[in-house]
Amino acid sequence: MRDVKQAGYRALVERVLDGAGAASAEQRVRAFGDVGLAAPLDSLIDGVLARPGRVSEADFAAAKAAGFSEDQLFELVVCAAVGQSTRMYEAGLAALDEAASGGEDV
């Protein structure tokens, strides 16, 4: 069942990164990886990743004032959240495989 679940997850990741979108593919990759984002988008995405309960109307307003549309922000927030979950999922599966194969921590 692990393969079925991972395939479903990969389909989600591939769509949000590589499919059509209002935000450019480059912007979506940056939000997904939380790398190379400029202000004020960096503040919004950092909030999604580190303290989503404190993301505010002002964070979205600042990004909109910088020229991002609501559809672009919808996509970039989704990419950031999916990106963080992907890193967790991959780290968990790698640790599991290492443990199940009898490997030692590095």
């Binding site: 069942m1 109307e57 559809d71 959240a81 979950s85």
Partner: protein, 193 residues
């Protein structure tokens, strides 16, 4: 929600569906459900498919166990909407509110099976720290969870870490206990498709 498009940007047939849900159930469509109807080709369609497979697909974990994992991940992420939704769903699935409350209150002292406790502990660390080690996984396997079960739990965690962050960033409205219970009935009957 904080983006106007998530409140008002739906196609006419989707708006009609939201109205029908409100009329027939007496409850508004929760924001979690509305989100996956917004441009479903971008996120919602594949997110629903993956979440349904993680939560209702074949697994040695019961549906109740997986709903408890969703509630626990949500608690570690301090996501009020998701804690409410999946506490209600796990409680209804187990038919045991006290068990769910005990786990969320203090995992170490809760009366719960060791493989489940160890798995929840590992998920909590993964969410809080962003990673886990092979030693963490060995502890889960030593407690009696199978590798297949751990993989299934990681899928639940991936689904709900994403949902937690979207719920809080977009500002999902936290529902009343009655509304969360209505949602729980729906999720146990229909799943996440």
């Amino acid at each position: 929600m904080r983006l106007g498009i998530l409140n008002n940007g739906y196609k006419p047939q989707t708006k009609l569906l939201f109205t029908a849900v409100r009329l027939f159930s007496g409850q508004p469509m929760p924001d979690a459900a509305k989100l996956v109807f917004y441009r479903p080709d971008f996120y919602g369609a594949r997110a629903k498919e993956f979440t349904h497979e993680a939560m209702r697909g074949q697994s040695a974990w019961s549906v109740a166990d997986r709903e408890l994992m969703a509630a626990y991940v949500s608690k570690v992420n301090s996501s009020a909407f998701c804690v409410g939704a999946h506490t209600a769903t796990a409680s209804r699935a187990y038919q045991d509110e006290k068990r769910v409350a005990a786990v969320l209150d203090d995992l170490d002292s809760a009366d719960v099976e060791e493989p489940l406790r160890a798995t929840l502990r590992m998920l909590g660390k993964l969410v809080a720290e962003g990673t886990v080690s092979a030693a963490d996984m060995r502890a889960v396997l030593a407690a009696g969870a199978t590798a297949e079960q751990v993989g299934d739990a990681l899928a639940v965690c991936a689904a709900f870490n994403t949902t937690n962050r979207l719920a809080d960033a977009f500002g999902f409205e936290v529902l009343s206990p009655a509304e969360f219970d209505a949602g729980a009935k729906y999720l146990l009957k229909r799943g996440y498709k």
